[in-house]
């Protein structure tokens, strides 16, 4: 486009009525934006830096904290495997977290279906009750469970710990699954049932695949909530159900040697892997959803 063509000689809608002070305003904004992004960079560094500082400490050859490390070694990781308690605690944590995930996801998904679809009195009250473990401070649930388990002799029992963790994890499953159910077209289920599917088949083949992202996110939350949970474990893990956070807590109170840095590095790596996996899954589900929309629109002739 050159200035000689008549079309470009016409004043363009956005460009023509630029008031004189707009230029000054623009330069001020850009300075503001620079300042904003500097601040953002500082805050993000504050968020991420402590998480990543643990890794170099865990590979240090020094017994006491020294930074930068004088040399590199894997001795703290060897400690983690060789010293009594660490590996068994890890297995207890994994077992408890898996039981919690299965229980919370099953109970929570069924409850979400009822809470989103059902029309019965007291629905909102039940919903608030199910989400309330999020608002109630952890110590309150912990001592409640502790007094109760002391009576029914469940202290020191991994299953008891998993049951308590399930109560804490349920709200995460309910909020995640409910969110996906809100955007769900129920006519898809009616169609399946009209075509002869029974209720279970409809759920397995139509409902579940559609709400899967929500169920999966809920399950992920349930696993993490249980795997990282410390306060309930402090009270009810006794000596028979010592979880990894409990073991870390105990050794933090005695002495801080870099074995905890090694364990922390393993846990941080785990959470990053889980986060990336969740992000990939989200992107994939978004892509398939967009692909379906595109196909639908093409069918309807909206898109060319």
């Amino acid at each position: 486009m050159t200035a000689t063509t008549p079309s470009s000689a016409l004043p363009r809608a956005g460009a023509a009525p630029v008031p004189r002070h707009a230029h000054r305003a623009r330069t001020r904004i850009s300075w503001g934006r620079v300042l904003l992004w500097v601040l953002v960079a500082i805050v993000l560094a504050y968020l991420v830096f402590p998480v990543f500082i643990v890794a170099p400490v865990s590979f240090s050859s020094a017994k006491y904290l020294q930074f930068p490390p004088p040399g590199w070694s894997l001795q703290w990781y060897e400690n983690y495997f060789a010293r009594p308690g660490w590996v068994p605690a890890t297995f207890v944590s994994i077992r408890v977290a898996i039981i919690t995930t299965i229980l919370a996801t099953t109970l929570g998904t069924a409850a979400s279906l009822a809470l989103v679809r059902g029309r019965f009195p007291g629905r909102n009250a039940i919903n608030s009750f199910m989400v309330s473990p999020l608002v109630v401070p952890g110590i309150i649930v912990a001592i409640g469970i502790y007094f109760f388990y002391a009576q029914v002799r469940l202290v020191g029992n991994p299953l008891g710990l998993a049951l308590a963790h399930t109560a804490l994890a349920l709200p995460f499953v309910v909020t995640n699954v409910s969110a996906t159910l809100h955007g769900f077209d129920e006519r898809l289920e009616y169609a399946a049932m009209n075509l002869g599917a029974n209720r279970w088949q409809t759920f397995r083949r139509v409902t579940l695949p559609i709400i899967r992202p929500g169920v999966f996110a809920g399950a992920l939350f349930a696993f993490i909530v249980s795997f990282d949970e410390l306060i309930v474990a402090l009270f009810v893990s006794g000596s028979g159900a010592v979880t990894l956070p409990r073991k870390m807590w105990d050794s933090l109170r005695q002495e801080i040697d870099p074995t905890i840095a090694a364990v922390s590095t393993i846990l941080i790596t785990l959470s990053i892997v889980i986060l990336l996996a969740a992000e990939l899954l989200r992107q994939r589900s978004e892509r398939t959803r967009t692909a379906t929309w595109v196909a639908e629109e093409e069918e309807l002739g909206v898109r060319e």
Binding site: L47, V54, L113, F129, V135, I140, T175, M193, P245
Partner: protein, 314 residues
Amino acid sequence: MATLTSEMASAPREAQSARFARLRRQEQVRYLLLLVPAVVFLIAFYGYPVAAMLTRSFSEPTWGWQNFEPLLQARSTLDVLGASLPMNAFIRVFGITLQIAVIVTFFTLLLGYPVAYALASVSASKANLLMILVLIPFWTSILVRSYAWMVLLGQEGIINQALLASGLRTEPMQLLNTRLAVYTGMIHILLPFMILPLYAVMRGIDRNLLRAAGNLGAAPSAVFTRIFLPLSLPGVAAGCLLVFILALGFYITPALLGGQRDVMISMLIQQQVSQLNWGFGAALALVLLVMALGIYLLFTRLLGVERVFGSARA
């Protein structure tokens, strides 16, 4: 289902609507049945234990108000904060807890708002990428992050070593086991809980409104204070509520990073329960619960914060 509909086509209208009503009732009964296991479970392993624990504040060792009396005395008989104070140490602990919660909420908002604002102003794909930096700490356990701060702030910690090496200081500073360490760690841990709801609300703000205001002659600062800021307030309320309630119940971080005088309510409750003062521990728990629920109701009823905890999803 399929056979039912074909039957219904031939049935008289009244019978048909009666049948529909029955089917709808059956459907509702089915939903109720789906709800029963979760509700029974939660009552057994959450509702009942918590309620039974709270009633102990009145029933142990005998029925009455005796467990609440230490809270009302001018001076406390038990040593809580290391040394005996010329005042009620339990009330002092509630004061410390509220102070920490308020300061942490204020600073998470101060630091979180610009981050959410900046992330909401760039493209979604770029924002998602930067959001990973918020989500990595969010997904890392509180215990691990508190430990990381111990590594940074300790007597032989990284910050002190850097200070000594640079010659700015000749001897290490007391950074760990101070109130400042509690603030630093708690703000770090709770910041994602502020950024996520803020970002969710700011993403939903229609950018055309800002452009329209600008076109009508509003200066950028006016566009922000009169359009963007008011529209972002629901996110501010949700984030503040979430952070404040979580901060009230904090235990791990103040226990690891705080000093002898930085006792929060959760730590006091734990201490009382482990000293077998179950009744008094339960009474403290009741007061904490009333505070948390009171603030929750205040925000949801007065400010109309809806679905606060749903919006905090990653």
